[in-house]
């Protein structure tokens, strides 16, 4: 053992010094570096984005309730070291002498908000700034709109319920204001200590209680496990940032899946490069193994020497990889510091663990087959150079590398679907390439017999080394395919995100527009040259029955008998709209849109798909709504898919206008006003004081900022994968150059002109590049189809341009790399070429 160790150490030391381990070391360093940098960065980014999403609910988790919850619940959270905060919200009239307004009243304790900040402003409608203060007892903070409606100023008093409170600040923003076009009452923030005195929470009032929780994720989860059995589905709702189904939540979730994908691809890339490097390492050691065996070394001794050596290489590779990976992501984090606020002070052990595991698994599993080959080299090779390893089983190699890749992907992602998709694409690629290889042999046989032109030589070489080339072809094609997948996914994803918020996205919503105001507003918009959207009629209706079955629209009050089992309602009034034109971004998935309704038929209604599923409503069902004192009965004639990610008003129920003939509608609409023209808003809306104006610029900015950050992070990952991919390509060309050395030396010695040899080698690489690119484009399309439809839930598009780009780029890149490699070789004179061969 001691002997094997010292011999292994000596071999390792000398080979490392002489640069003979560079390629395999680089491959391991690459795998560890890319996996570490990717996962470290994405971990940090995820943390940053999670924090960001937490701001939208002002906490890590929230418990909403219709009633105050028992004190023990909150005490239990505190005992577990979880921070808590509280908010009570209701809609309440606020008065100032003769002025009154309905307000969105929020009463909070001093701990609120646990995440995010409250913003105030000094002048109405100006941009807000953060404050650490909270409304004190006796104070109210009201927003600019309420300030206007009540005609008050800072220092004035307003009546809230039974008490008078002093306006202390102009409120600009709270983290969990929510975003609802229909719920746009101006906001009032006050201390929860004053609530009891106001008497506004008496019987009959609709009050919501929110309890906020922030702290260690595990603690919160275990707290929720404790709490869950005590919750009443009808009264309580638990919400965590993971449940975020908003546009932002979905973007972040998708970005996370992309990071996962990119990291998996980086692992495969690293694995491919280690496989190539290990093959080369093994071949270089055929002679030393034969010599050692000849000199009496047992199989066990040889095995020990090389396994120890591989361990040395792995350890060195992992150490360098961790250092480089850490520095790299540190650099990137510094570069992106302004755009993506990620914390760099925390050290995440998980990515380091993953990187080390990847390094070890890749290095050991991928060198297993080459090492087995190496161990099988017979001693007779010392006499006959043409004797190679006796173990040669491509199937065995595929089994080893295939299972290694799959194990790694499963370990890393814990996601069978995504792993299986990538694995299947890879397997398809390998299978087609092996088939292709045999085809090449056949085609080459016809070509390779006439003359020694550069193309003929190239073909002849490809044919002769078909099997060797197939390995090369596979590794080139896999590399190109992986790069394509990452590139296309990134492009499609960023494009889709940007489409969510195109330039000119409405940043103001108007509701409560009366029939008479509609005409005037249109004129005014045109006068002011403002881009406005359609006007949608709205009526509030209570959804009361499906067919003959009554449904509950109110939750049961405390102390009441539980309502009979049955269909759950919407819990509150629904907004009904009516139109004969299908709204943009809506798609009929069942039935037909009601644009050609005939008098005498039942009134048609179109329902949104998710709500239909939730309320178990099917096509042909008869729905009854109470609107004011009237009753409307309509039949479901179509089910719509609605893209909730667009910031457009959308409706669960759209009726035929006929059904609503007797109602005076109010309208909602939206418009876009550039930043530079924001000062015109009060002038623009001056004649329409009763119309509710809702400014969602802050929301849009937040959304856009997050999308930009995520896109930038995604782009960084793309660059990282591209760099990794290029390194792998270089390693592959380098490895294949060694194999070509002998042939080049012979051709050169025989006097073939350098230019002709060069062209033939370049042509060979060009052909390999084109084929690899084409195959990669095919496998790319296949895996994209599966990824986009199965994992990312995006619409699938064909990527025909890549069927051209991939082979061209493949030919160019592989050709250029090949040219550089062979230029270097051919600049050596014949004798040094021959010497290099020994």
């Amino acid at each position: 053992m001691g002997m094997s160790f010292s011999l292994a150490w000596r071999l390792f030391k000398h080979e490392a010094k002489r640069g003979e381990l560079t390629i395999i070391l680089l491959a391991i360093v690459l795998s560890v570096t890319s996996v570490l940098a990717l996962s470290l960065f994405s971990e940090r980014l995820q943390q940053a984005l999670t924090d960001r999403s937490a701001e939208f609910i002002a906490a890590d988790s929230q418990l909403r309730s219709r009633n105050p919850v028992p004190d023990e619940w909150i005490q239990e959270a505190k005992n577990r070291g979880i921070d808590t905060a509280f908010q009570l919200s209701t809609r309440s009239m606020v008065f100032n002498q003769n002025n009154l307004a309905l307000s969105d009243l929020r009463a909070v304790n001093t701990e609120y908000p646990l995440k995010g900040t409250i913003k105030i402003t000094d002048t109405p409608f100006a941009t807000g700034y953060e404050t650490q203060n909270r409304p004190q007892p006796g104070e109210v903070w009201i927003d600019s709109r309420l300030l206007q409606l009540l005609k008050v100023d800072i220092g004035d008093q307003v009546d809230v319920g039974d008490i008078k409170l002093t306006v202390a600040n102009i409120l600009s923003e709270i983290p969990d204001a929510g975003f609802s076009v229909f719920n746009t009452d101006p906001m009032l923030l006050m201390s929860s200590d004053d609530i009891a005195a106001t008497n506004i929470t008496g019987p009959g009032s609709r009050v919501n209680y929110k309890y906020y929780f922030a702290g260690d994720r595990g603690e919160i989860e275990s707290y929720y496990d404790w709490l869950r059995p005590q919750l009443d589905r009808e009264l309580h709702r638990w919400q965590s940032i993971e449940d975020d189904d908003s546009a932002i939540g979905r973007s972040v979730a998708r970005a996370e899946e992309f990071f996962l994908l990119a990291s998996l691809l980086a692992i495969i890339l690293a694995a491919v490069s280690i496989a190539v490097a290990a093959q080369r390492f093994s071949q270089r050691h055929f002679d030393p193994v034969a010599i050692m065996k000849t000199l009496g070394a047992s199989k066990q001794m040889v095995r020990r020497i090389y396994l120890i050596q591989i361990c040395f290489i792995t350890v060195l590779g992992i150490v360098i990889g961790i250092i480089v990976g850490y520095l790299l992501q540190l650099g990137v984090v510094a570069l992106l510091a302004d755009a993506v606020p990620v914390a760099i002070d925390t050290w995440y052990w998980r990515p380091v663990g993953i990187a080390v595991f990847t390094g070890i698994t890749c290095a050991l599993l991928f060198s297993l087959y080459p090492l087995l080959q190496l161990f099988s080299v017979p001693p007779l090779r010392v006499l006959r150079k043409d004797i190679d390893a006796t173990l040669s089983s491509r199937a065995l190699q595929f089994v080893f590398s295939g299972s290694a890749v799959f194990i790694l992907m499963m370990f890393y992602s814990g996601d069978f679907q995504i792993s299986a998709i990538l694995f299947a694409s890879g397997a398809l690629l390998v299978a087609s390439l092996v088939g292709m290889t045999y085809l090449l042999i056949l085609v080459g046989r016809k070509f390779g017999t006439s003359g020694i032109g550069a193309w003929t030589l190239a073909w002849a070489r490809i044919r002769r080394r078909a099997m060797g080339n197939s390995v090369q072809l596979i590794s080139f094609a896999i590399t190109i395919m992986l790069l394509l997948v990452v590139l296309v996914m990134r492009n499609d994803m960023v494009k889709q995100w940007r489409e969510q918020l195109p330039q000119g996205t409405p940043n103001y919503f108007l509701s409560n527009v009366s029939e008479t105001q509609k005409e005037g507003l249109v004129q005014r918009f045109e006068e002011f040259d403002v881009e406005y959207q359609d006007f949608y009629p709205v009526a509030r209706g209570r959804f009361v029955a499906v067919n003959d079955e009554n449904i509950r629209t109110e939750v049961s009050k405390e102390g009441d008998e539980p309502a009979r089992e049955g269909r759950r309602g919407l819990g509150r009034e629904a907004n009904l709209s009516w139109s004969t034109t299908l709204q943009k971004g809506n798609e009929i998935v069942e039935g037909q849109w009601h644009d050609d309704w005939q008098e005498g038929e039942p009134v048609p209604l179109s329902i949104e798909k998710e709500i239909a599923e939730r309320l178990e409503i099917n096509m042909g069902d008869q729905l009854t709504f109470n609107v004011g004192s009237e009753q409307i009965v309509a039949t479901v004639t179509s089910i719509r898919l609605v893209d909730w990610q667009t910031l457009q008003p959308n409706f669960f129920f759209v009726l035929h206008p006929k059904a609503m003939e007797n109602f005076t509608p109010t309208y909602i609409t939206s418009f876009h006003l550039k930043d530079s023209r924001k000062s015109e808003i009060s002038n623009l809306m001056a004649p329409y004081a009763s119309v509710t104006l809702f400014d969602i610029d802050a929301r849009i900015d937040q959304l856009r900022e997050i999308i930009d950050q995520v896109s930038m992070a995604v782009e960084f990952i793309l660059v990282l994968v591209l760099v990794a991919g290029s390194l792998v390509l270089i390693a592959q060309v380098q490895a294949s150059m060694d194999e070509r050395l002998q042939e080049l030396a012979i051709l050169r010695t025989l006097g073939l002109r350098g230019s002709r040899i060069r062209f033939s080698v370049i042509n060979e690489f060009l052909i390999i590049g084109v084929v690899a690119g084409l195959m990669a484009a095919m496998a790319n399309e296949f895996s994209l189809y599966l990824l986009q439809t199965q994992v990312f839930e995006m619409p699938f598009n064909w990527h025909l341009e890549y069927w051209i780009i991939a082979p061209v780029a493949g030919a160019l890149v592989v050709g250029i790399l090949g040219a550089i490699g062979c230029w270097r070789l051919l600049s050596l004179n014949t004798s040094s070429l021959l010497r290099k061969m020994v």
């Binding site: 011999l7 000596r10 000398h14 080979e15 002679d287 000199l295 009496g296 070394a297 047992s298 199989k299």
Partner: protein, 237 residues
């Protein structure tokens, strides 16, 4: 002479290889003996089967039939592991292409067989023997930093470090110019003499072959003892 123990003995040794056109017998039944301390040369044209025979005698290859005894041990019955042990204990090698481990220094290459055999103080032994081949100043050079002649001297030192009973040399001067050839030959025979090693030398160089006590000619897989002066045979080719 008859009291001298036999170092190598073959009986009806044959070797067959499988080719695409079926089985091909490349060694006809060969029977001969080499006494301990004897030096023999196996001569013959390229492709006559010299190296194949050497590979079998040295236990690098498996026989297809017949018997080989090396220092009384039945090589033909042994598996690769047992043969490796035997080689490590009793056999030294010198090759035409030197066969040094490129990533070990001259000194480390010389140490290698001693280490594999588990001998004590391999480094001291190697330092002593490298002086005998006159390369102590090149001890820490790598093979590719040495000339062909120097590399072969390292190989000779490596072959003798374990004081093997038998030394197999395959065209030891085949890759060297005449000046270096002479030096290497002299060194080889001098050290062989000193250690009384049995030498089996494969060569097509008649001059070199003549320095051995016996010469055997390999022709189309058949081995015959050369009884006439070598020049005649060389002239007759």
């Amino acid at each position: 002479m008859s009291t001298t123990p036999t170092m190598i003995e073959t009986k009806s040794l044959i070797k067959k290889v499988n080719t695409s056109e079926g089985s091909l017998q490349i060694l006809q039944p060969i029977s001969f003996e080499v006494k301990s301390g004897e030096t023999i040369a196996i001569i013959g044209a390229s492709g006559s089967g010299k190296s194949t025979l050497l590979g079998l005698l040295a236990g690098l290859d498996e026989v297809s039939g017949g018997h080989i005894f090396l220092d009384g041990e039945p090589l033909h019955e042994m598996d690769e592991e047992a043969r490796a042990r035997l080689r490590g204990e009793k056999v030294g090698f010198i090759f035409q292409s030197f066969m040094l481990v490129q990533s070990l220094t001259a000194l480390e290459n010389i140490m290698l067989p001693a280490e594999i055999a588990g001998m004590d103080n391999p480094k001291e032994r190697a330092q002593k023997i490298i002086q005998q081949v006159g390369l102590e100043h090149r001890a820490h050079h790598f093979p590719n930093q040495l000339s062909g002649g120097e590399q072969q001297r390292v190989a000779i030192a490596r072959a003798f470090i374990t004081q093997p009973k038998i030394l197999f040399a395959d065209e030891p001067t085949g890759n060297l110019d005449s000046a270096n050839s002479q030096k290497v030959e002299d060194l080889l025979f001098k050290m062989n003499d000193e250690l009384q090693t049995t030498l089996v030398l494969v060569t097509h160089d008649n001059e070199l072959a003549k320095r051995c006590q016996r010469q055997l000619n390999m022709n189309a897989g058949t081995l015959t003892e050369v009884t006439q002066p070598l020049k005649v045979i060389a002239g007759g080719e």
